[in-house]
């Protein structure tokens, strides 16, 4: 693993860890990992490190990023721009990383699920990166775990208000711009949604299901894996008789199996 690589030297927070699979003679698919944490300071890319290592062992070049967070510069659209910048950095270094720039998927959970969904759907100039790596196209496939898709349908709590930059009443246009649902289009990449159906914070009925319906109606390939009884940070534990926390819906064996199959069938299996 190569750690603390700056992808935008304007901001000390904007670094990534690179997990390289065994060498290959042909360009490899890659996965960009984006952590959650309510878009707010407190959680960083360490929370996705196990996923990054596991996907690298499965043959994917894996990029695990940090980005600006609220209240320290992360307010919309900066977090989206930062993630786009990291994607642009990977594509800009595709040759030296031996990555196929057209086979890059995103995996995120919670706020990270929102950000990868934005990187899958949004082509609006407002969130394109203004970093040296320059603008880039969307992800080629998206795995969104419990990611907000419609910011206006989120609970109006401080992390949401701080990220969007105001209340729903004060800034309705920002809530629309910050919502992947607004940007869903027929040329959106394939989406795999993974969501616990007992998640009270990011409600599946208000977020993933409407987004899936919208993409399905546009002919976009989608999958939805619902984890029965799964909450936002807890699930029924591995021994079955207890709740375990932290245990997210993307951590379950079923989700891991679905994720690998989805990556293999969308961006292609590693060589």
């Amino acid at each position: 693993m190569q750690s603390d690589i700056s992808y935008d030297d304007r901001f000390p927070s904007n670094v990534l860890d690179l997990y390289m699979p065994p060498p290959a003679t042909t360009p490899r698919p890659a996965v960009l990992l984006i952590h959650g944490g309510g878009w707010h300071e407190g959680i960083n890319r360490d929370s996705m490190a196990a996923h990054a290592a596991r996907l690298a062992d499965a043959g994917y070049v894996t990029i695990n990023i940090d980005y600006r967070l609220t209240p320290n510069g992360g307010q919309f659209p900066h977090e989206v721009q930062d993630c786009y910048c990291a994607l642009a950095y990977v594509r800009g270094h595709a040759t030296e990383l031996n990555v196929d720039p057209d086979r890059i998927a995103g995996l995120g959970y919670s706020a990270g699920g929102h950000l990868v969904s934005m990187l899958g759907t949004d082509r609006d100039a407002i969130v394109q990166p203004d970093c040296a790596a320059g603008p880039t196209g969307p992800l080629n496939a998206v795995v969104a775990g419990a990611g907000p898709q419609d910011m206006a349908a989120m609970p109006e709590v401080s992390v949401v208000i701080d990220f969007v930059g105001g209340t729903k009443a004060a800034a309705p246009e920002l809530y629309a711009q910050a919502s992947p649902l607004t940007h869903a289009a027929p040329d959106s990449p394939p989406f795999l949604f993974i969501h616990g159906d007992d998640d009270w914070f990011v409600d599946i009925d208000a977020q993933e299901r409407p987004m899936k319906r919208a993409l399905d109606a546009m002919g976009v390939e989608t999958r939805l894996l619902e984890v029965p009884g799964g909450g936002h940070i807890f699930n029924r534990g591995a021994d079955g008789t207890a709740w375990e926390l932290p245990l997210t819906s993307i951590d379950t064996p079923e989700s891991q199996a679905a994720m690998i199959d989805f990556l293999d069938t969308t961006i292609g299996p590693p060589p």
Binding site: G240, A242, E244, T252, S255, A257, A258
Partner: protein, 194 residues
């Protein structure tokens, strides 16, 4: 136990429908040697159940617990089936004293306990859109917990517990490497002593 007191307790127990397996393995206490419980988390939406059988060894204030689980573990565009079983040893270190919030006398598996156990589970995942199996996984785990069994009425047992658990997830297709993780476990069982 004095004769009149024993007679009174036996009469009351019979009137309450108590089963015949009451023994007097500890002085001055009626002891229920068995318990069956359902894990409340297993009922938390979805289809499935986890339950346990517990056998009391009063001479050592120990019990042996056998658990079993079957549940639907994925829905939507997928189906998942999970099967699991495990075992746990519990020590009710204050069982020789009358437990708080218990209708039972001392000598029963009620009140504070600590436990340690291990379990194994397998998960099968199917893509219902493309009609293909995505493989199976094996989870091997261990846990330690502390809990308190309340017996508020007759032999009704309510058992909250908390502890830590660690498990290793193995992808039997070989596509993903093994994965070890741990966390806080929170349990709540409801059962019946007999």
């Amino acid at each position: 136990m004095s004769g009149p007191l024993a007679l009174a307790i036996a009469t009351a127990a019979a009137a309450a429908g108590a089963p015949a397996s009451i023994t007097a393995s500890m002085p001055g206490a009626e002891t229920y040697e068995h318990a069956v419980s359902i894990a409340v988390p297993s009922l938390d939406t979805g289809r499935g159940i986890a339950g346990s059988y517990e056998h009391w060894l009063p001479a050592h204030q120990l019990s042996i617990v056998i658990t079993g689980e079957v549940r639907e573990s994925a829905t939507g565009d997928y189906t998942g089936l999970r099967l699991g079983t495990g075992g746990e040893a519990r020590w009710y270190w204050r069982a020789d004293r009358g437990p708080w919030l218990s209708a039972l006398p001392a000598g029963n598996m009620a009140g504070w306990f600590v436990g340690a156990g291990a379990y194994v589970a397998t998960d099968l995942t199917h893509d219902t859109t493309d009609h293909k199996w995505l493989g199976s996984a094996l989870q091997l785990g261990a846990e330690a917990r502390v809990g308190y069994r309340i017996v508020p009425w007759r032999q009704l047992a309510i058992t909250p517990s908390t502890g830590i658990e660690a498990h290793r997830d193995l992808d039997l297709s070989g596509r993903l490497p093994g994965f070890t993780r741990g966390g806080l476990a929170i349990g709540l069982d409801v059962g019946w002593l007999f």
